[in-house]
Amino acid sequence: MSAALLLTQLFNGASLASLYLLAALGLALSFGLMRVINMAHGEMLMLGGYLAFLTLQVVPGVLGIIVAMPVAFVGAAAVGAVVQGALVRRLAARPLDTLLATWGVSLILQQGARDLFGAVGVEVRAPEWLSGGVALGAVVLPTTRLFIIGVALVVLGALALVLRHSRIGLLVRAVNQDRMMASACGIDVGRVDMTVFCLGSGIAGLAGVMLALLGPVTPNVGQGYIIPAFLVVVMGGLGSIVGTCVAALVLGLFLALAQVFVDVSVAQMLMLVFVVLFIQVRPQGVVAVKTRALDA
């Protein structure tokens, strides 16, 4: 294996990891709070992609993609609010049923996109300033992917700041640690749930804009990323940002490096085997939340 190939695959792994991270952050946060998984989360990616497409119709030119990011964030967050308010909140006591109901939502959203935009998908042209690449020795790193890694890092930093230093962050951490006790202290648990759900959906919408830079936006563009993102959540540990980051990085690099030796379908199977083996060693995930609760 040549050094150039290794470097390329490491970079591809990091790029993949940044997308997994953006897709998984929202899932992991809501899972930590409510123990439910939103199966329609992948459609937030899709929604973000289509919103980017629509934004670029209105605001063509250099700054289109910059405008698209907040639009996609707000749009996906709004849809997330509807899903949370109408479904997840009511079903939260039955995690498996939440899974199924949100899968139903996912099907409806996908078919809706197919009817509105067609099954083939729409193209979002990356702006000039994102074309080209940065040469690193013999390897050229595409600017688009560098930009995506940058966005993921900024989102991660902002999220860490919010969770650590803001009032809502304090409340989120409190509910994450002990929901009942937090509720007993007068925290409006339902509002915290709603805020986190919207925030997570918004981040997924943002991730959708990034996907639109890489390829055409199709009705099932989210599906290819959401299942690895689920594995990231399984591996990361309950609602831990650090755990989610580590898991996203490990799985992204694993998939990219495995592809040096085998093709992508085998690499996917190996990734699943890797996750199953990982939970043999650490069933509680990368970062375990210490708790005395028996039925955590």
């Binding site: 479904l87 899974l99 399984v234």
Partner: protein, 336 residues
């Protein structure tokens, strides 16, 4: 009088079911036979999901293992010595892969259609549950399994038939698929398997095993405190459901004349859950009815408005889960 009717009801239904090939057209009989095969898959999910609280989003994998096992045998039966199936030739292969060879024996193929899904399912369940990983994680991992399995089959075109799957069946055990009498025989075989699966699961759910499975679903730690290990119960339940999936897949493949990745991936796997969600996750008859009703509806809707089916199924999921968690079986109970 009423009690006597209740007791005679299932037998009358069975007799009506057995008489169907004589009444219906060949096409309708084939359709019904397919749906009965899917009913076997649904029965297995009552055991795992309804009574075990284990939601598998990857049941299509076991369905596919069963289906591919018999399909591989059929592809090999018509060949002269030294020949290999046509799709392998097209992909440029010259020799049969080693793991295809045992499928020349029909007995081996039938055994594999049952045993391989059961072992894979049980092993997979054990790997996850013995480390006390929670139910939601298990569902997510099974979904990843369905994706990985379908992708793997598509990409290995030379040995699996790829996206098109395995099709063009001519004979099985010397009988021709185009012979209507053979089709009727297969129908009765499917009905027989369904009845056996039903009776077996009824017995299993009524036994101590069923009680402890439900106890583990409702309070895993309490079961542990009572001195039982809930893991073997879950593993066996999942293995049995996987085996029934394999059986259903094998029979379905015979009726449909094809098995392909489009029937075993992520979306088909979740569709299997919707049958049971509609029929009633706790009820064995409900699961059979659910599989029949949903698939008939699918057949009717998608032949008229193909684009409407995903909406219908999505809504069915949302409504069944939020408003009628016990499905059709629950409605019947509420009325009685």
């Amino acid at each position: 009088m009423r009690k006597a009717l209740c007791r005679a009801g299932p037998w009358a239904l069975l007799a009506a079911g057995a008489a169907m090939p004589l009444v219906l057209s060949d096409y309708s009989t084939n359709l019904l036979a397919r749906f009965l095969a899917l009913g076997i898959v649904a029965l297995g999910m009552v055991l795992t999901w309804g009574h075990g609280g284990i939601l598998s989003l990857g049941q299509g994998v076991f369905f596919g293992l069963g289906g591919y096992a018999v399909a591989m045998h059929i592809k090999l039966t018509d060949l002269a010595a030294g020949e290999i199936p046509d799709f392998m030739v097209w992909s440029g292969r010259t020799a049969l892969p080693l793991w295809w060879a045992p499928f020349q024996s029909g007995l081996f193929a039938v055994a594999a259609a049952l045993v391989v899904p059961a072992l894979v399912g049980a092993g997979f369940a054990w790997a996850v549950f013995h480390r006390r990983v929670s139910g939601t994680y298990f569902s997510l991992i099974t979904q990843a399994l369905a994706l990985a399995f379908a992708t793997l089959i598509i990409s290995r075109q030379d040995v699996t038939g790829g996206f098109n799957g395995l099709t063009n069946f001519t004979t099985l055990f010397g009988f021709s698929f185009s012979d209507p009498a053979f089709a009727h025989g297969l129908y009765w075989l499917t009905l027989g398997c369904l009845v056996l699966a039903y009776a077996g699961l009824r017995w299993l759910l009524g036994s101590r095993f069923g009680m402890l499975l439900r106890a583990g679903r409702d309070g895993e730690n309490r079961v542990r405190f009572l001195g039982y290990d809930p893991v073997p119960f879950k593993v066996v339940a999942f293995g049995v459901a996987a085996m029934l999936s394999g059986l259903g897949g094998a029979l379905f493949t015979l009726h449909a004349g094809v098995i392909s990745p489009a029937m075993i991936g992520v979306v088909p796997s979740i569709e299997m859950v919707v049958w049971v969600a509609i029929g009633g996750r706790l009820s064995l008859p409900g699961a059979i009815v659910g599989a029949l009703v949903v698939n008939l509806a699918r057949d009717a809707i998608s032949s008229v408005f193909p684009a409407a089916w995903p909406y219908a199924m999505g809504l069915a999921f949302v409504l069944a889960v939020t408003l009628f968690p016990q499905g059709l079986a629950g409605l019947r109970k509420a009325r009685a």
